[in-house]
C-alpha cells in the first residue's frame, strides 16, 4: 500500500520576499526533514503548478527542481488548473503503484501576488473554455452563475452561503500557516462588496503564495521506520466538459459525483466513516455543492447544513470540513492547494493538527477541483 510518510507546507499568504522556487525549495527541504529521508532516497518528483508559464514565462520547472535537488531523476510538472496539486499527487501514486518508483516527492506551489490582479485573473481564466473567456466570464462569474442556479432551485439565501466562510475563517484562525487568521461574522460577509452576484469578497478565496509537499512511498522498510505513515486508500481523477454550458446541471459538478462514487466503492467505506474532509471551497457555494455531490448531505439540504454549522470544529458530531481553513481562509496558491488539502488530512490522521485536531480521526477525504469542475480529484486517506 502506498503511504504518505511526511508533509510540510510553507506559510500561505502575500509572501513578497519569496519567489516560486524559493517556496519550492523550502517545501522540499522541510518535507525531507519531516520524513527523515535523504534526498538521494527520492526516486522521482511530481510538481503541481498552474501559472508559472503564463505569469513568469517559466515552464521548464522539472529542470529547475533538478537544479534545486541536485539530482538526476525523473521530474514531472503537472498542470490541471486549480487541481494541479491533486492531479500531481494522483499521478505520483499511480507511478509508485506501477512500480516505476518506490519513493516519490510531490510538491505543489504557486506564486501569485507579485502580479497585478488583472494578470492573475487573466491567467486563471486559462482554465475556462475559450467561449467563456471571449464572453468575459472570469471564475467569480462562472461560480456566481452556479450559485444563482443553486439559489433559484433550492431554498437558500446569501446568508447560508456566508456561514461557510464564517466556519472556514474560524478554522483558519486555528491554523498558523493560514493566509487569513481572523474570524469573521455573517454580517461581515454580507456587508462585503459583491464580486459577482450573489458572491461577495468574503465568499471568495484569495490570491495567495505558497508551497506544500508530501512524500509517498511503497518501500516497506521506509514505511516501517516512519513515525506516522498514512495510507492512500484511493485516489481518483475524473474529467468533464470544460464549458459550463455543456453541463447537465449548473448546481452540481458531475465529476465530483463520479469521483466520489469511485473512491467509496474502491475503499468499501461509507460516507459516515469520513470524519475529516478538505473540500474545494474556492467560493462558498462550491463547498455546499461539493458536500451534496460527494453525498455527505442530500441534494438541496446544503443551506440547512451550512446554517447549522454542522461541519464546524467543536460543533460537528461527526464530519468536520476544511479544518485548515479551506481555500477561503488558509488561502489558495493554486498548485499548492491540492497538496495542502492532503497534508491537512495527514496531520489530522496522525494527531498533529494541534488546536484544530479532530479527535479519533481515522479516515479523511480530500477534494480538489480544476476550473468549474472540468477536473476533479478525490483521495481518501486512512490509518
Amino acid at each position: 500500500m502506498v503511504s504518505i510518510i511526511g508533509y510540510y507546507t510553507t506559510q500561505f499568504g502575500e509572501l513578497w520576499e519569496k519567489s516560486l522556487f524559493s517556496l519550492v525549495g523550502e517545501a522540499i527541504d522541510n518535507v525531507l526533514i519531516e520524513s527523515g529521508l535523504e534526498k538521494k532516497q527520492i526516486d522521482a518528483v511530481f510538481f503541481g503548478n498552474m501559472l508559472s508559464g503564463i505569469l513568469e514565462n517559466n515552464l521548464h520547472a522539472s529542470a529547475k527542481i533538478a537544479e534545486i535537488l541536485k539530482l538526476n531523476i525523473p521530474i514531472f510538472r503537472v498542470e490541471a488548473a486549480c487541481a494541479s496539486g491533486g492531479s500531481a499527487f494522483n499521478l505520483a501514486v499511480n507511478y509508485v503503484k506501477s512500480q516505476a518508483a518506490e519513493t516519490v516527492l510531490v510538491v505543489g506551489a504557486e506564486k501569485m501576488t507579485d502580479f497585478s490582479p488583472e494578470q492573475v485573473v487573466g491567467g486563471l481564466s486559462a482554465a475556462s473554455s475559450g467561449e467563456e473567456q471571449e464572453s468575459g466570464l472570469t471564475f467569480p462569474g462562472i461560480y456566481a452563475l452556479m450559485a444563482q442556479s443553486y439559489l433559484n432551485k433550492n431554498k437558500t439565501k446569501e446568508e447560508d452561503l456566508a456561514c461557510i466562510s464564517v466556519k472556514n475563517h474560524f478554522h483558519g484562525s486555528l491554523n498558523d500557516k493560514a493566509h487569513f487568521r481572523r474570524q469573521i461574522s455573517v454580517s461581515d460577509v454580507l456587508n462585503s462588496a459583491y464580486v459577482a452576484y450573489p458572491l461577495k469578497v468574503l465568499d471568495s478565496s484569495p490570491i495567495s503564495d505558497g508551497a506544500s509537499s508530501v512524500i509517498i512511498t511503497s518501500n516497506k522498510k521506509i514505511i516501517k521506520k516512519a513515525k506516522k505513515p498514512v495510507m492512500v486508500l484511493a485516489s481518483e481523477v475524473v474529467n468533464d466538459t470544460i464549458s459550463l454550458k455543456k453541463r447537465k446541471n449548473l448546481d452540481s459538478i458531475e465529476a465530483t459525483i463520479i469521483a466520489a462514487d469511485k473512491v467509496f466503492k474502491k475503499t468499501g467505506l461509507k460516507r459516515k466513516d469520513i470524519t475529516v474532509a478538505e473540500l474545494h471551497d474556492c467560493f462558498s457555494i462550491a463547498e455546499i455543492i461539493a458536500m451534496e455531490d460527494i453525498g455527505f448531505w442530500k441534494k438541496g439540504e446544503g443551506a440547512s447544513g451550512a446554517r447549522a454549522y454542522s461541519t464546524m470544529f467543536g460543533r460537528s458530531d461527526n464530519l468536520v470540513v476544511n479544518t485548515s481553513g479551506g481555500l477561503k481562509s488558509a488561502g489558495h496558491p493554486v498548485g499548492a492547494t491540492g497538496i495542502k488539502q492532503l497534508g491537512e488530512i495527514y496531520l489530522q490522521l496522525t494527531g498533529r493538527a494541534e488546536k484544530r485536531q479532530v479527535k479519533g480521526a481515522k479516515y479523511g477525504l480530500a477534494h480538489n477541483v480544476g476550473g468549474s469542475g472540468g477536473t476533479v480529484v478525490i483521495t481518501i486517506l486512512g490509518n
Partner: protein, 340 residues
C-alpha cells in the same frame, strides 16, 4: 544652524467628494471612506498645473521677507507631474519669481519624496556655504487612472520652503534618509498614469522605509518620541500615517494636527509637507517636530525640526484655506484633470 526661513503653500479651491467618485464606479462611499479615511480631495483647475501651484506657494513663502534674490543659489522643484518631460519647471518658476542667472535650477523626481530629497541637497549647499538660500518647491497635480483606487486620494497642492541659515522659523536638528530598490509604485516614460503594487505599497514600501529612516534618526539624535510635540508622516491615505506613528512610539495626539489628508487627499510631493504646514499653524517656539516623507521606488527622508521665535510672524493659516472650497462633480473633475 541651517533650516527653513519661511514657507508657503497653495491648495486649489476645487474639491470632489470621495462619495461622488465611488458612486460612478458602483462602490459604497462608506466602504471607501472607512478604508482610506479620506472624505474629499483637492482638484487643480483646468488652467492650473504643478508649475502654477509652485508659483503660488513660492510667492507666499516670499511674502513679508526682504531677501536679495541674487542670494538664492538654487531652485529645486520636486514633482511627479512636471508639465514637461524635457524643459525644466525650475527655470520657469525661478523666472516668474525674479530669479535668473547664476543659480542652480533643478527638477527632482523620487515619487512623493522628490522635494524632501532636494531639501537635503539644499541643506548641504547652505552648510557648505555655497549659497545663502535655497528654494525648494513641492508641487503636484497628481495623476491617477480613472477607476484605480488612487483616484479616491490623488489630489493637487504645493508647498514651498525657503531654506537658509539665518532668521529661521524651523531649525533642522538632524535628518536621516533610507532608500532601497523597491518597485511599489511607478510610471513609465510616456505612460499617463502611475501603476502600483496594491498592498505591496504598504509593509515592504511605506512602512519599511519610513521606519528605517525614522528609527535611525531617533537613535542618532537620542530624542525620544515623548519629547516630540508633533509628528508628521507622508499621507497616501488617512490610515498609514497613524499606523507608522504608533509603530515608532508616537501617540495619536502627536500626529492628529498633521492629518489633513481627510479633507485634502494625497497631493503626492506636497502631501507630507502640507501636514507640516498644518502643524506650524499651532506649533509653539522650541517645539520639536518629527517629519518623515516617503517616496515610492522607494525611500524616506526623516527630519527633526525645532520651532524658533519667528513662528508667530511667519505662521500661515491652512485651516482657513481648507474651508474656502467649491465642490465639483465627476465629469467636471475629469475635465479639470484633462481626462476628457
Amino acid at each position: 544652524m541651517t533650516g527653513i526661513v519661511s514657507y508657503g503653500f497653495y491648495i486649489p479651491k476645487y474639491r470632489i467628494k470621495i462619495g461622488d467618485i465611488a458612486k460612478v464606479w458602483g462602490k459604497e462611499e462608506k466602504n471607501i471612506s472607512r478604508s482610506l479615511l479620506v472624505k474629499e480631495k483637492t482638484v487643480a483647475g483646468i488652467d492650473e498645473d504643478s508649475l502654477t501651484m509652485a508659483y503660488e506657494s513660492s510667492k507666499m513663502a516670499f511674502e513679508g521677507l526682504n531677501i536679495d534674490k541674487k542670494k538664492i543659489g538654487a531652485v529645486y522643484v520636486g514633482s511627479e507631474s512636471h508639465p514637461y518631460a524635457v524643459n525644466p519647471t525650475a527655470t520657469i518658476l525661478a523666472e516668474m519669481l525674479g530669479i535668473r542667472g547664476h543659480y542652480l535650477a533643478s527638477d527632482t523626481e523620487f515619487a512623493c519624496k522628490a522635494a524632501t530629497g532636494a531639501m537635503i541637497s539644499g541643506l548641504g549647499m547652505i552648510k557648505s556655504k555655497l549659497t545663502s538660500y535655497v528654494l525648494v518647491s513641492a508641487s503636484d497635480k497628481a495623476q491617477s487612472m480613472p477607476h484605480d483606487v488612487l483616484e479616491y486620494t490623488a489630489s493637487s497642492a504645493s508647498v514651498s520652503l525657503l531654506m537658509g541659515s539665518q532668521d529661521l522659523v524651523l531649525k533642522v536638528l538632524d535628518y536621516s534618509t533610507y532608500s532601497t530598490d523597491t518597485p511599489d509604485f511607478w510610471r513609465r516614460d510616456g505612460i499617463r498614469y502611475p501603476s502600483h503594487g496594491g498592498r505591496f505599497t504598504g509593509l515592504p514600501a511605506y512602512f519599511y522605509h519610513i521606519f528605517n529612516s525614522s528609527s535611525d534618526l531617533l537613535k542618532k539624535t537620542k530624542i525620544k518620541p515623548h519629547q516630540i510635540a508633533h509628528a508628521v508622516f507622508h499621507m497616501p491615505n488617512g490610515k498609514f500615517p497613524i499606523q507608522i506613528a504608533y509603530k515608532l512610539g508616537f501617540d495619536f495626539d502627536q500626529v492628529k494636527q498633521s492629518l489633513v489628508v481627510e479633507n485634502l487627499g494625497n497631493s503626492y510631493t506636497a502631501s507630507a509637507l502640507l501636514g507640516l504646514v498644518s502643524v506650524l499653524e499651532v506649533a509653539q517656539k522650541n517645539d520639536l517636530i518629527f517629519f518623515a516623507s516617503f517616496g515610492s521606488g522607494a525611500g524616506s527622508d526623516a527630519f527633526i525640526f525645532q520651532v524658533t521665535d519667528n513662528i508667530d510672524k511667519r505662521r500661515m493659516s491652512l485651516s482657513k484655506k481648507i474651508k474656502n472650497k467649491k465642490y465639483i462633480d465627476y465629469p467636471t473633475y475629469l475635465k479639470f484633470m484633462d481626462t476628457i
